[in-house]
Amino acid sequence: MTTLILKRLGLGLFTLWLVSVLVFAGTEILPGDVAGAILGQNATPESLAALRTQLGLDEPALMRYLGWLGGITHGDLGQSLANHRPVAELLWPRFWNTMALAAYAGVIAIPLAVSLGILAAARRGRFFDRFANIAALALVSLPEYFLGLLLILGLSVRTGWLPSLADTYEGMGLVDWFRATTLPMLVLVMVTMAQILRMTRTTVLGVMDQPYIETAFLKGLRNGRVVLRHATPNAAAPIVNVVSFNIAYLITGVVLVEAVFNYNGLGRFMVDAVSKRDLPMVQGAAIVFGAAYVLLNMIADIAAIALNPRLRHPRAKGA
């Protein structure tokens, strides 16, 4: 099992390196550059050339990539091209904001979705099961920004119950913080719940069709006990997988939600940086997103290995 996990870690590092290559190449092929974005309509060939030299944009791409990669390996994400402040100093506070919102949503969405999924499995084919399925599908079919706007209209503009801006700042009270971030949290809960709920239901039901569950029923156990004690633990691996996949989504996929609610997380940071063509900032944000995604998927895989006896003892597979 240790070798398996080590292999998975190596693969994770390799993926991260690939991400760095893709991020760098991707930002290279964006049309226009920071010099053009800074100068806009004031761009004349001379002023563009002068600014490019000043910003070091005329060095070969490979040299700039190696310099950047070297920096990342010891935590230096470079300097913003627009105001020469370190990217890391600007980026980490925004990253923790995104993490805080993701945690708020995750803490509510995951237990809720898993328990509703188990409940739906226990009530297979009955009203609750159908209702939960239809509601989950409906919510996951709506784009986040649309859901966000609907909630703002209903809970903020029309009624004034909650603020439409997720306006948070350092030193604000905890109650204010929860109030400000409740609307974006609700949207994130709605879009992540569906997948976890359906996956939980399906895996639990898959286990329920196994012969040993039939045995449990034949022993005279009640439905609820069979689902909770016998089926669910054996369905854990795929559920953990889909949960960590959704946590990764919460962290990396919140760009739209942050824009709709004007939440100052890493997503909005990245949108700002892209529109200003501030490439070190874009690259920094992209690599942090990439690392979070790779890391969470790696944790999911390792957890799946640890929870699955067949993966723990791969040679016993054929037996």
């Binding site: 600007l90 503009v157 801006l165 709709v260 004007n262 940086a273």
Partner: protein, 517 residues
């Protein structure tokens, strides 16, 4: 020597407000509509689009709306453009020009202190202006390049010698980069100025809070206790924040949704007519636009009324194929408005020896919001005049590098300039790097230069009228419309006026308004 400032101000005011206005000379920032006297107190919350994580208060790099508005809270300019588009004294208290408008002397306002207690002197102004001169990387470098020599005559007098005469120098000095900081100052994250508010804290690209400068010098200004700026770049989020009462005012309202917002009884739409205009650029050095007849055919093949009502929902003015807005004192009011006339367009095509014409128009919403729609509307109207327009949608990214000034026929815009001379110089003078139609007209160039140095208003007016006529008849830009600047403001905010320069009262809303108690 004569006092140019008093002269122009009196003649303008004479028209607008009668002799009683004389008493207001030197008192800038008075509200346009007489409302109750300002009351002190409250926290003004502004939701502004156009900010980023890298914003600071470096006066050389003010490029977007959040930093510009914030800079005006902390600092003062040298000259202020008021709501009537007239130059008013700010830290320069008065000015005089010698004949020829090359040599100028400015008096520095007395008794002004910076937030750190230092008294304002001519040295601070010299230092602040010099930040933009030479190889400074300032966005106002090209404007400051007109200054040949900048010297202090005594503690309260500054002398500016220009490269060549410019009667509009006070207007030129109203540029929002020409703000004043103490001599030697360079800590752009912790700004010190003479402005109405002091920075309390800022999280760049997110929010900032300012508190009142209790000893602010402008009467009737700095009324609110504090100002909170929340950066909201997304237009929908900005609109929602105003509707749900989280902010008092927002800038750059979308033309498409402004009518919906205006129906809210608690919200007022502030529309400011100004110099912002939208252009269809014909490159006069590329076929077929080398022929004036073709350019005139295009100018007659557009339905301006329809463009204005559809693309801008009526929030603008008709354009007459020259860039001077109605709000400018040199606007040519006698030039007949060009209308949609397919027959005339066909006539000009014939003059060019053609029965029909096929052209490609490059369009992107990078030019202005709604540019692609506007191009499609033009296409339909042009078809009626025998002109077949192929639309080429360009990516918004890199539009200014790759399409603008390169494609033979493309869409663009210009923000307003404080003076007719600046607008005509930047976009139409042969030698300008941003002459975006590559149009060259020797008579235009020499007249423009002549008018710039004239101190006689009437003679200048005659020349500017002719310059507008020349562009209207010969220029490469088809200019169908001017777009208003749109803000939306809660009715709790008092003292709000339209302003011809920019959104949010020329970026000085925080200084002027007060909150209903």
């Amino acid at each position: 020597m004569m006092n140019l400032h008093s002269m122009t101000a009196i003649s303008r005011r004479g028209v607008l407000a009668g002799g009683a206005a004389l008493g207001l000379l030197g008192l800038s920032g008075r509200p346009l509509r007489a409302e109750a006297t300002p009351t002190k107190g409250g926290v003004l919350k502004l939701g502004i689009g156009g900010g980023s994580t890298t914003d600071d208060f470096d006066i050389r790099k003010l490029t977007d709306w959040v930093p510009v508005n914030q800079a005006y809270m902390v600092m003062n300019g040298l000259v202020e453009i008021d709501a009537d588009n007239t130059a008013q004294p700010e830290l320069f208290e008065s000015w005089e020009a010698a004949e020829g408008a090359v040599e100028w002397t400015f008096k520095v306002r007395q008794g002004i202190t910076f937030h750190n207690g230092k008294t304002l002197t001519a040295d601070d102004i010299l230092y602040s202006l010099n930040l933009h001169r030479g190889d400074s990387g300032s966005a106002a470098r090209s404007v400051a390049a007109a200054i040949k020599e900048l010297v202090k005559l005594d503690e309260t007098t500054v002398k500016i010698t220009l490269e060549s005469g410019n009667a509009d120098l006070p207007y030129v000095l109203s540029d929002y980069h020409f703000l004043v900081v103490p001599e030697g100052f360079d800590d752009w994250m912790n700004p010190i100025g003479t402005g109405p508010f002091k920075l309390e804290r800022m999280e760049p690209g997110v929010r900032a809070r300012f508190t009142r400068n209790e000893s602010y010098w402008k009467p009737g200004c700095a009324n609110v206790d504090a100002v909170e700026v929340i950066v909201i770049n997304d237009i929908a989020a900005r609109t929602n924040a105003l509707m749900s009462g989280q902010v008092h005012a927002i800038n750059s309202v979308d033309f498409k949704t402004v009518d919906l917002l205006g129906r809210n009884p608690n919200i007022e739409i502030v529309k400011s007519a100004g110099g912002q205009h939208f252009t269809f650029l014909m490159d006069c050095t590329q076929a077929p636009f080398t022929d004036t007849n073709i350019r005139l055919a295009i100018k007659h093949a557009v339905d301006r009324e329809q463009l204005l009502t559809t693309a801008l929902r009526g929030y603008g003015q008709l354009g007459n194929d020259h860039p001077i807005p109605k709000t400018d004192r040199f606007f040519n009011a006698e030039l007949p408005q060009r209308a949609y006339d397919p027959e005339k367009a066909k006539f000009y095509l014939k003059q060019a020896g053609l029965d029909s014409l096929s052209i490609t128009l490059s369009a992107s919403d990078a030019a202005f919001a709604g540019a692609v729609d506007a191009a499609a509307i033009f296409r339909t109207a042009a078809a009626g005049a025998g002109i077949d327009v192929t639309l080429k949608r360009e990516p918004a990214d890199g539009y200014w590098n790759d399409v603008w000034m390169k494609a033979p026929f493309c869409m663009s815009y210009w923000g307003g300039r404080p003076t007719a001379d600046q607008m005509l110089t930047i976009a139409y003078e042969s030698s300008s790097a941003q002459n975006d139609t590559h149009w060259k007209n020797a008579r235009f160039d020499s007249l423009l230069k002549e008018a710039r140095a004239l101190l006689d208003e009437e003679k200048r007016r005659e020349i500017y009228w002719e310059l507008q006529q020349i562009i209207h008849d010969d220029g490469g830009a088809m200019i169908p419309m001017f777009g208003d600047y749109l803000d939306a403001v809660s009715k709790k905010v008092k003292g709000v006026t339209p302003h011809p320069m920019f959104n949010l009262m020329g970026a000085r809303m925080a200084e002027k308004v007060w909150l209903d108690a």
